[in-house]
């Protein structure tokens, strides 16, 4: 476990042993006999939080003593004032800790993952699919963050680094297929189950970690502060991101890239605690330069999004011409696995998109057997990508799940289509970052800041 805390847990006082978490777990990490409280095998769990999304067993107001409920809230890292029911499957919380650090008055920088802006409105009574990037930026500013930046910027940066790495590997500099490394649950799975294939994983840090690394180098330099003074917070639709931030190797010069990770639900709780009326906030922009983004960066929140963003840029880098159609609908996969091909400069480029970790094993077995002729694979653990992540607002009623996920998905594609800049390499602030600070993709500075080594965990 690398000293990481166990982020996902099941409360045996509340669990009724219905077994639905066991059914939804993509890696078979939940154990237990029906009718008795279940438990999680920590060595197998990838911390995706799908069990947290699924669980409907909550502490009955008739059976639990209020003092016991308050104690459980403290143990879970929730505000005691939070009114939502306590479910049996839960993830550790960091909102009270972040709120007290902010109150102390540190130099804080926050980033926000793409999927958050397509879902947080649901926590405040807005319909599923309400798209709120402007309100989100305003809300983070009201909470007292000094710099309100965006993970989407780092998603664009990821495309620059990962795309260059892929092209380098295609020239023979590394094993193929190359797998994306943005989804930490997928990375954990690869480390736990397929350690012999880790060299196939891109060496790129995820956008969350890239953003953190840039906050505490370039960002600190821009603000004229010591990187050690920067409190770096990430708002994520994901529970595994909490563990990722604590991984070894996610630091530079002894400074952690990301100090705290909040889920979408936890950010909503912080806003309620601070009496900020999210729905009534005005639209405000994210701060520049590290909060500007392209449409390509924004669709990282969806299955197939990383692939689509990568292909928009790769096509232009390889052919020197703009991609004929920006919307590469053939990689917009749903649950399962999708294969596609793209011809660039007379060469056929084979890609695969995996949504749902339970679908990746056959592909990995093929790589092991040497029978996989794919060049690049995107893997997302959660069924529809990050929009359906374990830290998103809970969709309790099963029949609403497809509908809500479809609405969130449509919102992110709409946001992409509305932006003037839709390709990562055309993001002017990313270009400026390379010009002023990083030099070139895969260069010395980016190598030390933006890449890491993934290794066996057990």
């Amino acid at each position: 476990m690398n000293g990481q805390q166990n982020v996902i847990r099941i409360d045996s006082d509340i669990c009724t042993g219905c077994g639905r978490c066991k059914d939804v777990c993509p890696v078979g990490a939940v154990e237990g006999v029906q009718g008795t409280p279940h438990s999680i095998r920590e060595d197998v769990c990838v911390l995706c939080g799908q069990c947290v999304q699924q669980c409907s067993a909550f502490a009955s107001f008739y059976e639990q003593h209020p003092a016991c409920i308050a104690e459980k809230k403290r143990e879970r890292g929730l505000f005691v004032s939070e009114a939502a029911p306590l479910f049996a499957a839960w993830h550790t919380g960091d909102a009270p800790r972040v709120a007290s650090r902010l109150a102390e008055g540190c130099h804080s920088m926050v980033q926000c993952a793409p999927a958050v802006r397509a879902a947080i409105g649901e926590e405040f009574g807005m319909p599923a699919g309400a798209l709120t990037p402007g309100r989100l930026a305003a809300a983070l500013r009201r909470l007292g963050f000094d710099r309100v930046y965006d993970t989407n910027f780092a998603a664009d940066l990821t495309i620059m680094e990962e795309g260059s790495e892929l092209l380098q590997r295609m020239e023979g500099a590394g094993p193929l297929p190359m797998f994306t490394s943005c989804c930490p649950a997928w990375v954990r799975y690869a480390e736990q189950q397929f350690p012999d294939l880790l060299e196939h994983l891109s060496s790129c840090k995820s956008p969350q970690q890239m953003a953190g690394a840039v906050f505490k180098s370039y960002g600190a330099q821009l603000d004229g502060v010591d990187p050690r003074q920067v409190f770096s917070v990430a708002v994520m639709p994901c529970t595994c991101k909490k563990a990722e931030a604590q991984r070894p190797g996610m630091e530079h010069d002894g400074v952690r890239d990301v100090d705290a990770v909040l889920t979408t639900g936890e950010l909503a709780a912080m806003l309620r605690q601070a009496h900020i009326d999210f729905a009534a906030l005005p639209d405000e922009p994210f701060d520049r330069p590290l909060g500007s983004y392209s449409g390509a960066g924004n669709i990282f929140g969806l299955t197939g999004g990383v692939m689509e963003a990568a292909l928009r840029t790769a096509y232009e880098l390889v052919t020197g011409e703009p991609v004929p159609c920006t919307e590469l609908v053939y990689v917009r996969g749903g649950e399962g696995i999708r294969h596609a091909t793209l011809t660039m400069d007379g060469r056929t480029f084979r890609v695969a998109v995996v949504a749902g970790l339970q679908h990746v094993r056959p592909l990995l077995e093929a790589v092991r057997a040497g029978t996989c002729d794919v060049n690049f694979v995107e893997v997302m653990c959660c069924p529809q990508g990050c929009i359906s992540g374990g830290g998103q607002p809970k969709v309790l009623l099963p029949f609403q799940r497809d509908e809500v996920y479809a609405a969130r998905k449509a919102a992110l594609y709409r946001h992409d289509a509305e932006l003037a800049c839709r390709k990562s390499h055309e993001n002017p602030q990313v270009q400026a970052l390379y010009r002023e600070f990083l030099g070139e993709p895969l260069g010395h500075v980016s190598h030390s800041l933006l890449h890491t080594v993934y290794g066996q965990t057990r």
């Binding site: 009724t16 042993g17 009718g35 909550f58 009955s60 309790l396 009623l397």
Partner: protein, 164 residues
């Protein structure tokens, strides 16, 4: 429309005899009999008590029961006009508790538990039988129709043809 039991808060004296009787009926033994103290106390109705008013609340046997609609195992079904839990199928997931608009279903001992109108009891509903204030009424479709006719006749609500 299904029959259901409803209590009149103006009559209810808050004694909770209904809860005791319900729990005893559900457990199949008297809690006052020898050894009865060890019986699981799981009443299928709950006395809601506030300073100004008390009233027991129990399942309304909804015709389009949301608990039955949401159940992932099909364990809640309509059986002769009563919304009934099949304990053998129930997995205790609590989705029915989330769906119930009345708060009248609970998961106890890993199984959903709700008022089933004491259909297995020859004397009828235990709560009605013991209530000293005669606060309970078994409402049937014809009871509601008769009440509607009475209220209209008394001018307490507009006649159907007078509605906008």
């Amino acid at each position: 429309m299904n029959a259901f039991i409803v209590a009149d808060p103006h009559r209810c004296i808050g004694c909770a005899a209904c809860e005791v009787a319900c729990a005893a009926a559900a457990a199949g033994q008297s809690v006052f009999a020898p050894g009865g103290q060890s019986a699981v106390f799981s009443p299928r109705l709950h006395l809601v008590a506030e300073a100004a008013v008390t009233a027991p609340v129990q399942c309304r046997q909804c015709a389009d029961a949301p608990c039955a609609a949401i159940c992932p195992r099909g364990a809640i079904r309509m059986a002769e006009g009563v919304v009934t839990v099949d304990s053998g199928l129930c997995i205790g997931c609590k989705m029915c508790m989330v769906a119930c608009p009345v708060g009248a279903i609970e998961v106890r001992g890993g199984r959903a538990s709700k008022c089933q109108l004491c259909t297995d009891r020859p004397e009828g509903p235990a709560c009605m039988q013991v209530c000293p204030a005669e606060a309970f009424t078994l409402v049937r479709a014809q009871t509601l129709r008769a009440e509607l006719v009475r209220r209209r006749a008394a001018g307490l609500c507009p006649a159907a043809d007078a509605r906008p």
